[in-house]
Amino acid sequence: MEGFWTRMLLRLWVALILAFLFTPIVLIFVYAFNTSNIQSWPIPGFTTKWFASTWDDPDVRRALTLSLQAGLTATGLALVLGSCAAFAIHRMTWFGREVVSLLFVLPLALPGIVTGIALNAFFSFGGISLSVWTIVVGHTTFCIVVVYNNVLARLRRTQGSLIEAAMDLGANGFQVFRDITLPLISTSIVAGAMLAFALSFDEVIVTTFTAGAQNTLPLWIFGAIRLGQRLPEVNVVVSFVILVTIIPVLIAARLTGGGGTGRVPAAR
C-alpha cells in the first residue's frame, strides 16, 4: 500500500479537485439570490425577488415553453425510434447491421457543429423553414442514441431463456413482449428517456443551426450572457436548468444502477 504521506497528498489533491469541480456550480445558486444586479463577489445580500421577475418575463416563458415542447417531442420520438432500433439490432441479423449500429452512435461522436451544419444545409436546400419541428429533428438525432444505447445494453444483459420459457408455456409473440420483455427493459427505457430529455433541454449547438429566429432556454441564456444583459435573470434560469438536467440523470442512474450515465459523451 501507499505510504502515509503519499495517501495524505492524494487526499489533498482529491479535495482540491472536488472543490474545483463544485465551486462554480454552487456559486451560481448563490448568485441567484444576489440583491445587487451587479455580479461581483461577495454578494451584498440575499433576496428572492429575481425569481418572481424571471417567472414574469415573457421572453423567458416563451423560451421555456419552446424548450419543453422540443425536449418532450424529441424524447418521445427518440423513445419509439431508439428502442425499435435497439430491438432490430439485438434480435435480428441482417446485411449491413454493423454499419447501421455504427451510424446510430455517430451523431454523438461527431462535433455538434458538423451535425448542425448538415441539418441546416439539408433544411435550407430542401426549402424547409426553421420551426419547432426542425429543432425536434435536430434533437432527436442525438436523443435516439441515448435511448438506443440504454435499451441495447439492457437487452444484451437479459437472458433469452426467460423468453423461451414463456414461449414453451404457450405465450404468443405479443404476450411475451407484454409480460416478459417490456417489464425487463422498462427501467432502461425510462432511464434513456430521462437522459435524452436532459440532453435536449441543455443543447445549444445543434439548436443554433435548427432554431432560426426562435429561442429555446439555452439559446436565451447564451444570448443574454453574450450581451451581458439581464444577468440576474440569467442566474435564476441557469440554476433552474442545472436542476432540470441533473434530477433526471440522478433518477436514470438509480434505475440503471449507475450504468448508462457514465458513458454519454457530450452531444454538444
Binding site: Q39, S40, N120, A266
Partner: protein, 254 residues
C-alpha cells in the same frame, strides 16, 4: 477503423456534395490565407494544452479512486465526477465568467490573501481554464477505469523485485494506465476542437476557434460550402488522432 471513416462519409452527404460542386476553391482559401492558419493553430494548440492539463489533474485523482479509496468512497467520487458533467454546459461556462471577471471570486480571493488581482477574464488563459474545467470528468473516468484494472499482484511483484513504490508507479502503473489516459484525451481533444461557444463567451478579441469561423459562415455570411470545407478540418484532425489513439490501444479502454 476504415468502417468509421466510411461512415463519416456516409453521414456527410449534404456537406460534401456541396463542396464537390464548388470544389477546391474553398480548401485553397483555407490553405492560402494566413488568418485561417493562425485560427487552426490556436484551436489545435488549445486542444492539446487542455488535454495535457486534464491528464495531469485527473491522474492523481483517478489513482486515489482506484487504489486508495474504499468501495463506498469510490462510488461517491464516481457520482461526484459525473454530476458536473451533466449540469448544463452553459451554466458551467457562465459560472467561470462570474469567477474570472475583475470583481469576481478569483480576484477577491487573491486580494484577501494579499496578492495582486489577476485579470485573466476574456483572454486565452480564461479559455484554457474553462475548457480544462468543463472536460475534466471525461479524462478522470477512463483513467480511473484503466487504473482499476491494473492488478495489485503486478505491484507486489515489482516490490518483490526491489522497486520502490514511486518506481513501480512509473514503470508499471503508468504504462498500463496509458490507454485510459489516451481514451480520455480523445474526448478532451475532440470536444475542445469542435467548440465555439466558450471562445465566444470567455475568450476575448482574437480568440476565434475553427468553430467560430464555421458558425460565422453559416449564420452571417451564409457561405455554407466554405463553412463545410472548414468543418472538415477538425474532422480530419480527429481522424488522424483516432488512428494514433487506436495504435496506443485506447479503444479497448473506452
Amino acid at each position: 477503423m476504415t468502417l468509421l471513416i466510411t461512415a463519416f462519409w456516409a453521414i456527410d452527404p449534404f456537406t460534401t456534395q456541396i463542396v464537390q460542386v464548388w470544389n477546391t476553391d474553398n480548401f485553397q482559401r483555407i490553405l492560402n490565407e494566413p488568418a485561417y492558419h493562425s485560427i487552426i493553430t490556436r484551436t489545435v494548440v488549445m486542444a492539446a494544452l487542455v488535454t495535457v492539463t486534464d491528464a495531469v489533474l485527473a491522474f492523481p485523482f483517478a489513482y486515489f479512486m482506484a487504489r486508495v479509496a474504499s468501495r463506498r468512497v469510490q462510488t461517491l467520487l464516481f457520482a461526484a465526477v459525473l454530476l458536473p458533467l451533466w449540469a448544463s454546459y452553459l451554466a458551467r461556462v457562465y459560472a467561470w465568467i462570474l469567477i474570472l471577471n475583475h470583481s469576481g471570486l478569483l480576484n477577491w480571493s487573491l486580494q484577501s490573501i494579499g496578492l495582486p488581482a489577476a485579470n485573466i477574464g476574456y483572454t486565452n488563459v480564461a479559455m484554457w481554464v474553462v475548457f480544462s474545467y468543463i472536460w475534466l470528468p471525461f479524462m478522470i473516468i477512463p483513467t480511473y477505469a484503466a487504473l482499476e484494472r491494473v492488478p495489485e499482484s503486478l505491484l507486489e511483484a515489482a516490490a518483490d523485485l526491489g522497486a520502490r513504490r514511486w518506481r513501480a508507479v512509473r514503470d508499471v502503473v503508468l504504462p498500463l494506465a496509458l490507454p485510459g489516459v489516451v481514451a480520455g484525451s480523445i474526448f478532451t481533444f475532440s470536444l475542445t476542437l469542435g467548440d465555439y461557444i466558450t471562445p465566444i463567451l470567455v475568450g476575448g478579441a482574437g480568440s476565434s476557434f475553427i468553430g467560430n469561423v464555421v458558425y460565422a459562415n453559416v449564420g452571417i455570411a451564409n457561405n455554407i460550402p466554405f463553412a463545410a470545407a472548414l468543418a472538415i478540418v477538425p474532422v480530419a484532425i480527429m481522424a488522424v488522432y483516432l488512428l494514433i489513439a487506436q495504435r496506443l490501444g485506447a479503444f479497448e479502454a473506452l
